[in-house]
């Protein structure tokens, strides 16, 4: 190839350059989040006395820790749905798989302190089993557990995704199949003879890494860890979508045939982001179980997976911060409403989904963005100039 020295400054002036991972503002946001998580929360929870007005109660630590796990799921959902246009209604399965792997490790940590004083978990003794089934062989090791938390959801997603994407299953058909997948897995896990603890699942955990689980310090440690993982996954996702890989994903969402005629095979792209998304959910599940203290097949129920999609939709798809915001908003509303009006929660959730789809297709983040674009004017004072907002 001939390289006649063209005036390159022109090129660099005219063409947009690859931006940094985050803007200065973005990095400050991450920094603030890290301070809040790593310094403020422990200080407010552990050092301030319970009566102090700024004291962060254990209830809130538990609730926020749980919601951060959900936020990881919403982020994962955004990568596959918001960016790649593939709506999965089975992400609860990957969450539960990660949770079950961690759950069995915690069961083994109980040791002989269970009701039946046996090395085997209580439910197995109850079923008169003499030894551990083969699939729990590695559950005593923490390192193996950490690996399996990533590998099990990743492998299930890889196998399922490979066949689904290779057969070019798309759109609503894909969503229905993922929904069926998680439902089938739920039925499997419900059965006693499969060795997953039946409908009670795993609970009554006592220790992690030999340390007691039910202390304030351990809860705080898990809370901080979850927060760090959330921030880490956010940065990872930002790197993924900021690369050309991320733009190919968006291109697949907008015009898959064109992507193929540009010479890209969509299969490895879809499969990669699908597996990444599943692994994120699996890790979220593994962080969730020690904080909540129970894992059962209910986590695989179709409704749970649909809820993940609702968090992403409410917060705003195709922006990474949106789903995190959405997970917080919806779950905070849930924790209030299920206490005050428990019978109305599902109606509220359904109504919310309809309202968001109809009136806020870009979610909360989209509304804030168009508000900012209009110079923070009140919605009612900017009626004449709506063309920045009214893009179909």
């Amino acid at each position: 190839m001939n390289t006649t020295a063209l005036p390159t400054p022109v090129a660099t002036d005219l063409l947009p350059q690859k931006g940094p991972l985050l803007t200065r503002k973005g990095w400050s946001g991450v920094f603030v989040a890290l301070i809040l998580l790593g310094v403020m929360a422990p200080v407010l929870n552990l050092l301030l006395p319970a009566g102090h007005p700024l004291h962060l109660s254990d209830y809130w630590v538990g609730l926020l820790g749980k919601i951060m796990c959900y936020a990881i799921c919403a982020l994962a959902m955004d990568l596959i749905w918001g960016y790649t246009g593939i709506l999965s209604l089975g992400h609860g399965l990957f969450f539960a798989l990660g949770g079950y792997v961690m759950g069995m490790y915690l069961m083994r940590q109980i040791g002989t302190d269970g009701v039946y004083k046996s090395e085997l978990p209580d439910f197995m003794v109850f079923l008169a089993w003499k030894e551990l089934p083969w699939h729990w062989a590695l559950s005593h090791s923490f390192v193996a557990t950490l690996l399996l938390v990533v590998l099990v959801p990743g492998l299930v997603a890889f196998v399922f995704g490979y066949f689904a994407f290779r057969s070019r299953i798309k759109g609503v058909y894909f969503s229905i199949i993922t929904q069926a997948l998680t439902f089938a897995a739920m039925l499997l896990f419900f059965r006693n003879e499969t060795g997953f603890g039946g409908n009670n699942g795993f609970t009554d955990f006592k220790r992690i890494l030999g340390m007691p689980l039910a202390t304030q310090e351990m809860r705080m440690a898990l809370f901080v860890l979850t927060g760090l993982v959330l921030v880490g996954f956010y940065l990872w996702a930002r790197w993924l979508v900021g690369s050309k890989f991320g733009r190919v994903l968006q291109a697949i969402r907008d015009a898959e045939t064109r992507v193929m005629f540009c010479g890209y095979n969509p299969l490895p792209y879809k499969l990669t982001i699908w597996v990444v998304s599943a692994v994120m959910c699996g890790v979220a599940g593994a962080l969730y179980v020690p904080q909540v203290g129970i894992i059962n097949p209910g986590e695989m129920s179709p409704a749970n997976s649909i809820e993940i999609a609702i968090w992403a939709a409410v917060g705003g798809r195709a922006s990474l911060i949106g789903p995190i915001v959405g997970a917080f908003l919806v779950n905070l509303a849930k924790s209030v409403l299920t206490v005050t009006f428990p019978e109305f929660w599902l109606y509220f959730l359904g109504g919310l989904f309809i309202v968001v789809t109809l009136f806020m297709p870009q979610g909360v983040v989209g509304v804030v963005r168009s508000w900012r674009a209009s110079g923070w004017k009140m919605p009612w004072s900017q009626r004449p100039a709506t063309d920045t907002e009214a893009r179909p």
Partner: protein
């Protein structure tokens, strides 16, 4: 063996080794010079026989309807071929077959003398050097003009290379060159979805050029363009001719008159007539098909 032949052979071997290192196939439309006793590396298009695309006795039917009926057609390297024909003549189906979107029931489709296109998938065919523009302009609406062109750039298209991709100097120059050609230099940062219809058509043509294809298949490239844009597109195609081979499906006769040398008329999935536009327009059978006598 004379010294200059030896020299020439050595240069050729060097060039091929270079191409193979980059993992790319040869990117020239090829010359008619027969090169005897040479081997054609895998993935390189052999146009020594003066033809870049052969379709022979191709047939395909959908639910009993013969969309393509024993169609035979060939195109020379550097040729600009116009395809016309009434609606339902099988023009788009023919392009679907060449690009791997539709599998024919029978017949052979060869790219150069050695590459059997029926054995490849759509992305593989694109990577071999066949670019296609759709009837309805298809660009990535949510991405900017720049990002659209960047995605189409001829480079490694795997997941890992895409994760690490950075546009280097030479590729930037190529991108600028294409931007200049398609007159979208002032819209680099604009969202592709916000472009006018004609501009989208051009962006799609630009994306084809970024792929550096040997053969371009263009399905109604000037549909929805203003007269001025059509004029400029004709100019563009005339400059592309020779460097690339082009197959253009169009209904706009004045456009065809500006660019054409050879016109093929398709009807009911087979070639009805072939020749210059004047010859074809004087053909009784063609008049019959078009006027429905």
């Amino acid at each position: 063996m004379t010294p200059d032949l030896l020299e020439e052979g050595a240069q050729r071997a060097e060039r091929l080794a270079e191409l193979r290192e980059q993992g790319l196939s040869g990117r020239t439309a090829g010359s008619l010079r027969a090169i005897y006793g040479r081997t054609v590396p895998r993935g390189q298009v052999d146009v020594a026989h003066g033809r870049i695309l052969y379709l022979e006795d191709v047939s395909v039917s959908f639910d009993g309807f013969k969309a393509i009926n024993r169609l035979s057609l060939d195109i020379a390297p550097g040729e600009l071929r116009c395809i016309i024909g009434p609606n339902g003549a099988g023009k788009t189906t023919m392009m679907d077959i060449i690009t791997g979107k539709t599998r024919p029931d029978e017949g052979t489709v060869f790219f150069g003398s050695t590459i059997d296109l029926l054995r490849y998938s759509e992305p593989e065919i694109a990577a071999l050097g066949i670019g296609r523009k759709f009837q309805k302009p298809t660009v990535f609406e949510e991405l900017s003009v720049f990002e659209n062109l960047e995605l189409a750039l001829a480079t490694h298209k795997g997941v890992w290379p895409s994760l690490q991709f950075r546009l280097v100097g030479e590729q930037q120059d190529r991108l600028l060159e294409v931007l200049e050609t398609i007159h979208l230099k002032d819209s680099v940062r604009r969202r592709a979805g916000d472009l006018s219809h004609g501009q989208k058509q051009w962006l799609e043509i630009g994306m084809l050029l970024m792929q550096e294809p040997l053969l371009l298949l263009l399905d109604e490239p000037v549909a929805g363009m203003t007269d001025e844009e059509t004029e400029r597109t004709a100019q563009l195609f005339l400059t592309l001719k020779g460097k690339h081979s082009l197959m253009v499906v169009e209904h706009d006769m004045s456009f065809i008159r500006t660019i054409s040398e050879k016109v093929t008329v398709l009807c009911d999935g087979a070639v009805l007539a072939e020749g210059t536009l004047d010859q074809v327009q004087a053909d009784e059978r063609v008049i019959e098909v078009y006027l429905g006598r």
